[in-house]
């Protein structure tokens, strides 16, 4: 079947319109809150108004007389019914107790659920929630990770003894020697990567029907990581995982952050069982901003970079404080995930990072598009830019010279990761063409003295995909994780129609379409003829433990599993057709809905006949064929990984590295500090494409998330620990009018390590954050301040124009 596996086939690699679109365009999709359920109860959480407080008393008595009141769930009940959710960090922070309602008699962030109430309607549930009285004793709180590590700081989790969730040093190469001997050393006291999230337009929705007859929880709602969610819930509720079924249908975005849904889902499940009725929780926008998952906020201190006189960057060192908020829900995996891209795009030889994950009284962080890697890559890219400006190197040449070069692939990083393929210089060249670089420089010169300043910036970044879960052992040697798999299932129904289901859970990435493309090629059908399962269903046996959509992997793992599953089905069809047509299985080819004998197309069996014989007339088949064939191909794809070297913190942590090189031209109004993006170019390289249109769409989406984060979006907290952006007024997600038209180009460097040369993509690596910071720096010029923040609203730009960061940025040599 090798011929049918290649990317030169009829459908794979082509821009094919999406199978998902018709239902979504006709308002016939089924999102979390759409599913009609009889006898449905609605859940509302009563949440903490304090950043940190002791719960003195909870009074729900007023609720009991309200019409439509069904019941409630209290922290004391949760304490009895559940164990704390599984924690990933080692001692002492493994003492953290995280439950679906505030644990240990305390609340730890504004918006933390304290009581769950149920009513017969949305309104009834809200009315009930409004009557619940919780008596709090406010406690001192901490919302700044830099303060949280001070000895006298308030403790978020009393049982741990400090606010440090994880603490470790990564030391590859010999940065001390490099800093001692390098011609140039740049030192920066502090840089800051701010808090934001992709804030999917559909907030979380969880519907749980507990079926008492079979003691099973049936969940419906977008779930990005179904088996891990099942495991978290099963362990906490002491309930068999196989008696928890999770079904996702249409899914209005996750971008990583919905990985934390197991927490509220547990409360909804407990209420459904307690009240004997299906229950739905429809998260509000404000709830989502409080607790739906923020991206990691990170402080970088004592940053030092060593550079030679010819402009070669040797390496860098820094101390990181990663603010994970009040609970470690996927954390502290962020403490190791960034090391997938330790080198960023560059030939670094030395890197030393002291990394600490810090609890604060803020909403918990969850993985968010570009998870943990974009923070590190922003830092490296920012330092590259600062070094170029301060040492007088041309920013384009400086990057070109330090990029990993095309002939160096596969390229091993300082920590043993293997960059599979790429062509960064060509990508940069194309990105500069997209923004008409020379012309942009001309515009910049002409703008001098007009009150507007023009800046040009480059963002170089990688999108590492397909995790080796063995990296979890680098943060806790006892975690029983390694490698990575995904599942897929392809079957032929009783009439010969073909049905596929993948372990991945799409929320807009077009998995139904790309699956249909590759399966169509292998079966000799068209994508229209392939019936693709919408969403996911844990009861369909397509999933593995790692199944889901996160960490840029579907094109490798999801498609790999579907290819393997289809291969099994093809083999079965060949066996059946061969025995009926009197040929060998190897002589059977699949074309136009028939199994036919190669070179003798008269001898053919339609798929309907193949299915009819297997399903209804097995006596027509030789026993050994009938015994083997069920017309269900179920397979896994296993990514080829080994367990990392825990001692030296080395190993191959991800299989593929897509790259994104962005370039932008922006204009700053000197009077207002307003930024206007004039031109924006993106060059993507994610190996062999499966559907170029879908890739381009992912690049657009990731780009706008990054632009919006750099200029508009900030989950800021005030001194009282109140979130200042708990709705879309205060959290400005970019609109169409805020954005320039986007210019796209691509480079194709097939991955040598994956089934069809494709690489995972979609997260994008946060390139706009790098490019915009660099462009602002370019516009501000040598007489102004240095861009040390990833978030640059107008007031900060005005500050930069006035200078003032000199003392914190030093060229030592």
């Amino acid at each position: 079947m090798t011929m049918q596996d290649t990317a030169t086939s009829t459908w794979t690699g082509k821009t094919v319109p999406r199978k998902e679109d018709d239902r979504l365009l006709k308002a016939q999709g089924e999102f979390g809150d759409d599913t009609p359920i009889a006898h449905l109860g609605h859940v509302v959480f009563v949440r903490s108004p304090y950043a940190h407080a002791r719960i003195l008393d909870i009074d729900v008595s007023a609720a009991e007389s309200l019409p439509g009141y069904l019941g409630c769930l209290l922290p004391d009940e949760v304490d009895v019914l559940t164990d704390g959710f599984m924690e990933l960090q080692p001692a002492p922070a493994d003492a953290e107790v995280d439950k679906c309602l505030a644990a240990g008699g305390k609340v730890r962030f504004v918006g933390e659920p304290v009581v769950a109430v149920a009513g017969t309607s949305r309104q009834a549930a809200r009315d009930v929630a409004a009557t619940v009285v919780v008596d709090y004793e406010p406690l001192p709180h901490v919302v700044d990770a830099r303060r949280a590590v001070e000895p006298e700081a308030p403790q978020v989790h009393d049982e741990i003894g400090s606010n440090v969730a994880w603490d470790g040093v990564y030391d590859w190469g010999d940065i001390d020697a490099a800093l001692k001997s390098a011609d140039h050393v740049i030192e920066v006291d502090e840089l800051h990567f701010h808090r934001f999230s992709s804030t999917p337009l559909e907030c979380s929705v969880v519907t749980v029907s507990y079926d008492a007859g079979i003691d099973t929880f049936n969940l419906i709602g977008g779930c990005a990581m179904p088996q891990i969610t099942t495991l978290m819930m099963a362990a906490a509720m002491r309930h068999p995982a196989e008696k928890i079924r999770i079904v996702s249908k249409d899914f209005g975005g996750s971008f990583g952050v919905k990985i934390g849904m197991y927490v509220p889902a547990t409360a909804v499940a407990l209420l459904s069982r307690k009240l004997g009725r299906p229950m739905r929780w429809t998260e509000t926008r404000t709830e989502h901003h409080w607790m739906g998952g923020h991206g990691n906020e990170r402080w970088f201190h004592n940053v030092k970079m060593a550079v030679t006189s010819e402009g070669r960057v040797l390496g860098l060192s820094y101390d990181a404080l990663d603010d994970v908020g009040a609970y470690t829900r996927y954390e502290p995996l962020g403490a190791v995930i960034w090391t997938q891209v330790a080198n960023a795009c560059y030939q670094l030889q030395h890197l030393k990072v002291h990394y600490r994950s810090i609890y604060t009284n803020k909403g918990p962080v969850h993985p968010n598009r570009g998870y943990s890697r974009l923070q590190h890559m922003w830092l490296v890219e920012r330092m590259m830019d600062i070094a170029a400006h301060r040492l007088g190197f041309d920013p384009v040449q400086f990057r070109l010279q330090n990029y990993v070069q095309p002939e160096q692939y596969p390229y091993e990083t300082v920590n043993g990761c293997v960059y599979d393929s790429g062509n960064l210089p060509l990508s940069l060249e194309k990105a500069l063409d997209l923004i008409e670089y020379d012309d942009a420089r001309r515009l910049q010169r002409e703008s001098a003295g007009t009150g507007k300043r023009i800046g040009i910036g480059i963002g170089s970044t990688l999108d590492s995909g397909t995790n080796n879960f063995g990296q979890a052992r680098l943060i806790n040697q006892f975690l029983p994780f390694s490698g990575n798999t995904e599942g897929g299932l392809v079957r032929m129904g009783v009439d010969g129609s073909v049905y596929t289901v993948t372990g991945g859970v799409a929320f807009g990435q077009g998995h139904e379409t790309t699956v249909a493309q590759v399966v169509a090629d292998m079966l000799g059908l068209t994508p229209d003829e392939i019936i693709t399962h919408r969403g996911s269903d844990s009861a369909l046996s397509a999933q593995t433990g790692f199944s889901g959509s996160y960490a840029s992997q579907f094109a490798v793992t999801g498609i790999g599993a579907i290819l393997n599953a289809t291969r099994k089905l093809v083999r079965e069809i060949q066996l059946v057709a061969a025995s009926i047509l009197g040929a060998t299985p190897e002589e059977i080819v699949l074309e136009g809905g028939h199994a036919l004998v190669l070179g003798d197309p008269e001898r053919a069996l339609p798929f309907a006949a193949v299915a009819g014989i297997v399903h209804f007339s097995p006596a027509d088949l030789p026993a050994e064929v009938a015994d083997e064939v069920g017309l269900v191909g179920r397979a896994v794809y296993r990514a080829p990984f080994e367990i990392p070297d825990l001692e030296r913190k080395r190993g191959n942590l991800t299989l593929t590295y897509a790259s994104q090189i962005h370039a932008c031209v922006l204009e700053i109004d000197e009077e207002t500090g307003e930024v206007k993006i004039l031109r924006y170019g993106m060059v993507d390289d994610c190996g062999t494409p499966i559907n170029p249109m879908i890739i381009q769409g992912q690049v657009h989406g990731a780009t706008v998330h990054g632009i919006s984060a750099a200029l508009f979006e900030h989950f800021a907290y005030d001194d009282d620990g109140q979130l200042l952006a708990a709705n879309f007024y205060d959290y400005h997600a970019a609109t169409a009018l805020d954005l320039p038209s986007l210019r796209y180009d691509s480079v194709v460097s097939p991955s040598p390590f994956t089934p069809i040369g494709a690489k995972g993509m979609g997260e994008g690596g946060g390139a706009p954050l790098h490019a915009i910071a660099a462009a602002i720096q370019d516009a501000v010029g040598g007489d102004g301040g240095v861009v040390l923040e990833s978030f640059n609203p107008p007031e900060r730009i005005l500050g930069l124009l006035n200078g003032g960061t000199e003392s914190t940025v030093r060229v030592l040599r």
Binding site: F31, T131, L201, G253, A736
Partner: protein
């Protein structure tokens, strides 16, 4: 806390060309009545504050966010949701077909609202330019597409010759 007393009001509304009647509480939002009582899946809820536009419908010909209207206010009016846009035989109308061709949707959650806003813009008689489309859509948030392909789809529906999705040109040639 006193027990809320909800006045129940009878309403009859023509929704997507069909007369629908019901009893609603005086504080029920139109979006909730359409979704919960009629299973109309066009209007979606993406915020609590009228910012996102996912719930956009036409109300007696006027473009509105249905989370900003009480169901009781809709008595004796006409409501059109995105479910009314396709042709009677179920095929996509021009605008929908342009969204599909130009990949103007990913998760699809904003799509119904976008379609209603774009329909209104295209019928408004306003000159269609890239800028007027961006301005027209600014009350609708999309978190997936970056708007680029939505803007292209709307312009294509207005008859503009816009760039095709990456890789599509080769398809046409082959």
């Amino acid at each position: 806390m006193t027990q809320p007393q909800d006045e129940m009001l009878p309403i009859s509304v023509t929704v997507d060309g069909r007369l629908e009647t019901g009893q609603v509480s005086s504080r029920t939002l139109l979006v909730h009545w359409l979704r919960d009582d009629l299973d109309k899946r066009g209007p979606k809820i993406g915020c609590d504050t009228g910012n996102c536009g996912a719930c956009t419908i036409r109300w007696d010909g006027l473009l509105v966010k249905s989370c900003m209207v009480l169901a009781a206010q809709a008595d004796d009016t006409r409501v059109e949701t995105a479910a009314s846009l396709a042709h009677d035989d179920g095929s996509l109308n021009d605008l929908q077909a342009c969204f599909k061709e130009h990949h103007g949707l990913q998760c699809g959650y904003c799509t119904s609202g976008m379609l209603m806003t774009a329909t209104d813009l295209l019928e408004s008689g306003e000159e269609i330019t890239e800028h007027s489309v961006r301005r027209g859509l600014k009350g609708n948030i999309c978190r997936c597409t970056g708007y680029e392909n939505i803007v292209r789809a709307v312009r294509a529906a207005a008859g503009h010759d816009v760039e095709k999705p990456h890789g599509a040109a080769e398809e046409v040639a082959s």
